[in-house]
């Protein structure tokens, strides 16, 4: 989208979108920005929830040229700037990839060589958001590692992880606690809580583990 008087954002921040019905009823939801700060346009990732109040409108009804009531960018706590360094441990579930994708893209656009490991849980291969772009970025960059896990169905010959993210997987994929990675975890609440708890149990500094829960309902 084009946002008038855009003041720029930091990778990881979100926008609040508010819809107002004809009778005045209002619903507001937060959506993470997936585009890099270096990009002119703002890209959000919206997952359609059948019983949602906002996402069905955004995915089914909204047309090019329509206006939206926005607030943001907000949420500087869950944000990363290339100057902060790393290494960066990114853990995503489903559309929780959005703010982490902004960080990956920002790192690329800023020419940063901060090592990044992205552990990304999706239900199935076709449901991996940004699959092609992540492949391309990782192929040309030895310091960006992308590890997928597919929880519901796998393509034939899949040799990657095939279960929900657990402590064992994090022990294999995450940096050692001594490397003091900066961790950003985003996804549904159960995934975020499992990952945050496991990272701390593995010895990571809780102050360096930042979480963004969707909640089970989302929008």
């Amino acid at each position: 989208m084009d946002v008038p008087v855009w003041r720029g954002h930091r990778a990881g921040q979100h926008m609040d979108i508010r819809l107002t019905a004809e009778d005045g009823y209002q619903a507001e939801r937060s959506y993470s920005i997936a585009s890099a700060p270096e990009n002119d346009r703002v890209e959000l990732v919206v997952e359609r929830l059948d019983d949602g109040e906002v996402s069905p409108y955004l995915t089914d009804e909204l047309r090019v040229g329509d206006g939206l009531e926005l607030r943001g960018p907000v949420g500087g706590w869950f944000a990363w700037d290339a100057e902060e360094g790393g290494p960066l441990l990114l853990v995503a579930g489903g559309s929780g990839i959005a703010p982490l994708m902004a960080m990956v893209r920002h790192r690329e656009a800023a020419g940063s060589d901060t090592p990044v490991r992205l552990l990304y849980s999706s239900r199935s291969y076709p449901e991996i958001i940004f699959r092609g772009e992540l492949e391309t970025l990782a192929a040309g960059d030895g310091t960006l590692e992308v590890v997928h896990t597919l929880t519901r169905s796998r393509p034939e010959g899949w040799s990657g992880y095939d279960r929900r993210i657990d402590a064992e997987m994090l022990r294999e994929v995450a940096y050692q606690p001594e490397e003091r990675p900066l961790a950003f975890v985003c996804g549904p609440t159960p995934l975020v809580e499992t990952v945050a708890t496991a990272l701390v149990e593995l010895g990571h500094d809780p102050a360096r583990v930042k979480t963004e829960r969707f909640g089970p309902t989302g929008g």
């Binding site: 937060s30 607030r71 949420g75 500087g76 706590w77 869950f78 609440t189 829960r213 089970p216």
Partner: protein, 88 residues
């Protein structure tokens, strides 16, 4: 699981309407237990009625905010769970 339970970072939008600075990176001290931590790292309960920020250590309310969307828009801001806010 409480469906309204999110990270404090989720309160950034509503709190930015009343605080003129980036509040989620400010540190808040809890009146009840004395723990300090960044606002974004506390627990948030975001509902249609209002938003409550709770201490991630002892679960006491730190900040409660209610917005009434009539014209003029009004806010109720309850900060009595916060001993102090520290920000840059």
């Amino acid at each position: 699981m409480d469906e309204h339970r999110l990270d404090g970072n989720a309160t950034a939008g509503i709190l930015e309407e009343v605080f003129a600075f980036e509040i989620t990176t400010a540190r808040a001290a809890c009146v009840q237990c004395g723990a300090t931590g960044e606002v974004g790292a506390q627990m948030a309960y975001v509902t249609e009625i209002g938003t409550v920020l709770r201490c991630s250590s002892c679960d006491s309310p730190l900040i409660r905010i209610v917005r009434q969307d009539e014209n003029p828009r009004r806010y109720w801001l309850d900060l009595k769970g916060v001993d102090y806010l520290q920000f840059q």
